[in-house]
Symmetry: C2
Subunit: 326 residues, 2 copies
């Protein structure tokens, strides 16, 4: 049996974590031969009874791969020796809160977590930020962890890719497994750029089968505004699908994507004009635990314009939280 | 690729289904090489927006194994050609409702579903009733499906076994995978009889390592009343752990338990004095899609007495719903 992986999950009493934790413990994220130790990191003053209830239920599953489980509200304890950190918890937008207030409320959380990761996590920790605004939150954590490599940090845009693939498969009457090279660029916000320029279905380019009106007026906005549509239908935010995309993201990062393009927000190394260090959604290929953006693609002018808008948006977010980064 | 399995899930807008559906679609129940077609069966007048939201999220996961998905409120359509039916939906106990009222409210639901299964499901359908009171609900459905074999029907007691194993593992400081031959007899109610008489940890009998006071005053009541303890902690019923046990139950029934004892409530053939046809929790072994209670065990007097109490309780439940069975 393999040595267990230490996995720390924040926001453990929320709905995303309630889906995510059980799928991790069932072996969906790291494979059915990989035991895990789970650390649930709560906020000081958070709902302890809910945390206890979730842990009781995890225990009640008698998962063969769940070797150990602890909870704490101390980030320095929560991230100690973490191999994987899933930063799911974030402050949601409250009534009357401006976007700048939201950014700042979260900035403080991710500054603290970045510092703690810097001090106590495994030097090879893989960090996935799910809590929104996830790109900027990941960037704050990364900037506050100067002793860790920038490429240890990432944010969730696989949900956007999955949503794009689902819409495309439905339109083309194929299965999502028939699709390849679907990309989503930029920020996990309505500005994101879902891009099917390079996409294939059953090995053939999808572009001749799609019209621009559908792509611009239906496909792109449906993907970009899907979170709001789910919220309207369920009366609650996307939870199980966000958890599932988190499983996919980390699974492929750790175990490899087998040459498949998978969208991850990762710190730019200057690709496609994205400023270095900006946590930006790129199509990536994962191998040996390293996610590498696909380079040298001939982007359309539409995509280039959207990428530029995403860069500006992320620069504005960075500006709004500048006192939280060294 | 294998031919897809048709899976029908009732109560699809509830919390158990919200955990269960995503694990089925991820391949946890039938294996990662087995595609599924999902039918979500709602109540007429149920929350259509919530159903839509759940289906949108399932779509957004781009699950490779989820080939088709439909929803309906018509049981005759919902169970058509079903290979697997997961009857999760049930009427919860409302304020001022007596147990007899609850039994009757549910009896009507499971009568209708049994009749529909009888008419339109696959002749080899595997039915798992999760909605409580699950043993009696399963019995009602079975009795209303005379053209199906009795052994097509079962009710969920794997959650009780998983809970028993978790408590035992914690007490003995072993992993749940070190345990074997843990059984829970009877009705999924506080009367159930968790039984470690035949249990081993790492191949050795557990009995010499446990004292009777712990077994009777802590172990048995903790297992039997765990649902209430979770409810108190979470402010909501067990959902993810019930879903996980449902995955385990059906996984082992379909794919085999590899000689492992797994607790399932199945129609008695008279074993251990349980009246024929009563849907009763037994330790079972699953092979080739057939669940067979383990026979010939030398039960302790304590277990015999508890089994008798469970028989009486299930007889009283049957009496309360007698106008719903032919």
């Amino acid at each position: 049996m393999k040595k267990p992986i230490n996995v720390t999950v924040t926001g453990a009493t929320g709905q995303i974590a309630y889906s995510l934790l059980f799928r991790i413990a069932a072996g969906c994220m790291f494979g059915t031969d990989q035991p895990v130790n789970l650390t649930l990191l709560g906020r000081a003053g958070s709902n302890n009874a809910a945390m206890t209830g979730t842990m009781m239920e995890l225990e009640d599953c008698a998962f063969p791969l769940l070797w150990n489980m602890v909870d704490t509200t101390d980030p320095m304890q929560g991230f100690r020796d973490a191999d994987v950190a899933l930063l799911v918890g974030a402050r949601p937008r409250g009534p009357g809160m401006e976007r700048a207030d939201l950014l700042q409320a979260n900035a403080s959380i991710f500054q603290t977590q970045g510092r703690a990761l810097n001090e106590v996590a495994s030097r090879d920790v893989k960090v996935l930020v799910v809590g929104n605004p996830c790109n900027t939150n990941a960037w704050i954590a990364m900037k506050n962890a100067p002793d860790l490599k920038a490429e240890n940090f990432s944010a969730l845009m696989r949900l956007d890719q999955n949503r794009a693939e689902a819409q495309l498969a439905k339109r083309l009457q194929v299965r999502t497994t028939d699709l390849a090279h679907v990309a989503v660029w930029g920020n996990h916000s309505p500005s994101m750029a879902a891009d099917v320029t390079f996409s294939t279905a059953c090995g053939e380019s999808v572009l001749p089968k799609l019209d621009n009106v559908w792509l611009e007026k239906e496909f792109a906005p449906t993907v970009a505004k899907r979170g709001g549509a789910i919220l309207a239908a369920r009366g609650a935010s996307s939870a199980a699908s966000a958890a599932s995309a988190s499983v996919d993201h980390m699974h492929d990062w750790v175990l490899g994507s087998n040459q498949r393009w998978v969208t991850m927000a990762v710190p730019s190394k200057g690709q496609y004009g994205v400023p270095e260090g900006m946590v930006f959604g790129f199509p990536c290929v994962c191998e040996n635990g390293v996610a590498t953006p696909v380079e040298g693609l001939a982007l359309t002018d539409v995509t280039k314009t959207k990428i530029l808008a995403n860069i500006r948006e992320l620069q504005a977010e960075a500006q709004a939280v500048k006192e939280f980064v060294p």
